[in-house]
């Protein structure tokens, strides 16, 4: 019996606002078509978490209040998420989950929320200029269509290290100035795309490939560890 692919859904019960659970549903559907079973674990407030136990991390967006609560609890997992990302393992972060990878976000009332400080990016909220509507952009996996609904404007602080996930054709993406959508670093994708993003099956299949590869690598290393022990 093949071991199922393990997905960690970070704060699924709090960061689930804009239909992004669809990303996980679509990945599970594609993986099932390929013959792989999956499990999804909700990692919530106070839960223990070792990112390297999983084959894929998903982090969606939430409402402002929920995000301020998650921001505090999340700090406990900084090191394990950083290790996971640096090891080149796949992760998809949407909207609030994307913002959390950076150094901080500043809310419209001036409140600064400390984020994970794993990647060099930051976000500034402008409540009176929400970016909302259909989007079109081009990614490494090909063209994509989505929906954006955010007042946070995300900026890269190190444009050598971080690459845009997409180039905008229609809509805003990260901010009104850069004409880029989201961020790519190793196998981590950050994105403002709802819709959900992975209804673009070209992207979903690309990520599914990475997940399968990482799953096989994890099983192989666990096997090796068992043999040497």
């Amino acid at each position: 019996m093949a071991e199922p692919i393990k997905i960690a859904y970070l704060y699924e019960d709090l960061m689930n606002t804009y239909g992004d659970s669809g990303d996980v549903k679509i990945l599970r559907y594609l993986l099932k078509e390929r013959g792989d079973a999956t499990t999804v674990t909700n990692v919530s407030l106070g839960d223990d978490f070792d990112a390297n136990d999983y084959d894929f991390l998903f982090f969606g967006g939430g409402q402002d209040f929920e995000q301020t609560v998650v921001a505090k609890d999340l700090q406990r997992h900084r090191e394990t998420i950083k290790d996971y990302i640096e090891a080149g393992k796949p992760m998809l972060c949407i909207c609030g989950g994307y913002q959390f990878l950076g150094t901080y976000y500043k809310m419209s009332d001036g409140t600064v929320i400390q984020c994970l400080n794993i990647l060099p990016l930051h976000t500034i909220f402008k409540a009176d200029a929400r970016m909302i509507g259909d989007t079109k952009f081009v990614t490494q996996f090909g063209p994509a269509q989505a929906f954006e609904n955010h007042s946070g404007r995300t900026y890269f602080d190190d444009k050598e290290k971080l690459k845009p996930f997409g180039t905008m054709i229609e809509g805003y993406g990260n901010n009104p100035e850069d004409h880029t959508e989201g961020m790519r670093y190793k196998n981590v994708i950050g994105s403002y795309s709802h819709g959900p993003l992975l209804k673009n099956l070209n992207i979903a299949n690309g990520i599914a490939d990475q997940i399968v590869k990482n799953h096989q690598a994890r099983l192989a290393s666990e096997k090796n560890a068992a043999v040497t022990a």
Partner: protein, 450 residues
Amino acid sequence: MSIRDKFAITVGKSAHWFLHTFRNGGSSFPGKLADRLAPNALAALGKDYDTIIITGTNGKTLTTALTVKALRQKYPDILSNPTGSNMFQGILTVFMAHRHHGSEKGLAVLEVDEANVAHVAAQLHPKMFVMTNIFRDQMDRYGEIYTTYDKILAGVKLAPEATIVANGDAPIFNSKDLPNPKVYYGFNLPSEGDTRADVNTDGVLCPVCDHILHYHFNTYANLGDYFCPHCGFHRPDLKYTVNAVNTLLPTKSQFDLDGHPATINIGGMYNIYNTLAAYTVAREFGVAGDTIVDALAGDETVFGRQEVITVDGKQVTIILVKNPVGLNQVLTMIKNDPQPYSLAVLLNSNYADGIDTSWIWDGKFEDLDYAAMPAVIAGGHRHKDIALRLKVAGVADDHLQVADNVTDAIPLIKAIPNDRIYVLATYTAMLALRKALADQNYVTQKLVNK
């Protein structure tokens, strides 16, 4: 009433009469006109009425209809607004069209859009606010649930004497300290121990200490007998309760309503909440429990946002869907249908539907058994989105029929191999379907309740 108000109301009434007589219906135009001429016209018209404002994400329309039905047992002169007229100018139009009888004050029972509560309350000084629930809803228009609640509270703060009748099972209605007298209603079911809401539910954080709420029982979404295991925050005392649900079919619900056996000819747990809300209002206005239950039951079918049209011998039940919680309630309701049925989902993305269709992914389409359905149809402007959603939920590729738009879905609906179909449709898809069927001379048994 000032001369200016009188003039504005006369002009508005004339416009209403003209539109009503020579065009089809009154719309909100007369209200718009009167509002432009005299910004306090609603206050002038409203002084002859005690006003009840009914608001919340889901259930406004049916709660308002049932409340009117219950209150009629004691109050003959009731003004109410039809669905679709729940914003300020529509309400003003309704007041201009209504003739107040007698010297005593009349009752105005109004469904009010969440964002219009403050504007309406400022002029009508309501006696009561009824709050059904607040769920995520067309987030491109309404924003997050806390923002929506703040909009409602902006109106409540203008009437600190008004009684708040609120769903006690909704944690958000217990999150702010308000000076108003409060009456809570809710479910009083046997404890299921210590449970949590489904992971894909919003509004589950304790408003006091930010920990995740637990439940002794959870009726649906984030509603139920909640408590915080961390700080002890818990559901308030309930004055009126549903104590048991005995039958839950798509066309019939039987339950214990505050000690009375009650039957309504409509399905869905959410409609039991709506009935309980109406019961609560009527009791607070002095109508006897037995009288209310009799008035609400009747033999007549009560339609919420659903209607039945017979098309070439096939029973087509059209149900409006607009947000994930409402959608999940509809899916739960049709899952309980013991008879075979086909399913069509029609998804548009015009402004009135919500331009963001991602909420369909928060609906639990996975709960239905598609292999058992004679036909499954996906249609509307966004047929690609809903088709993928249904496939991911378990509809086999060769079992799914796709129509590019609502009109093209009609031949597929007529061709189902059985005789019953549920059509879940977003707002403009529902209107388009209804119009296309009317153009083909198919008659609705009954439109949305009035």
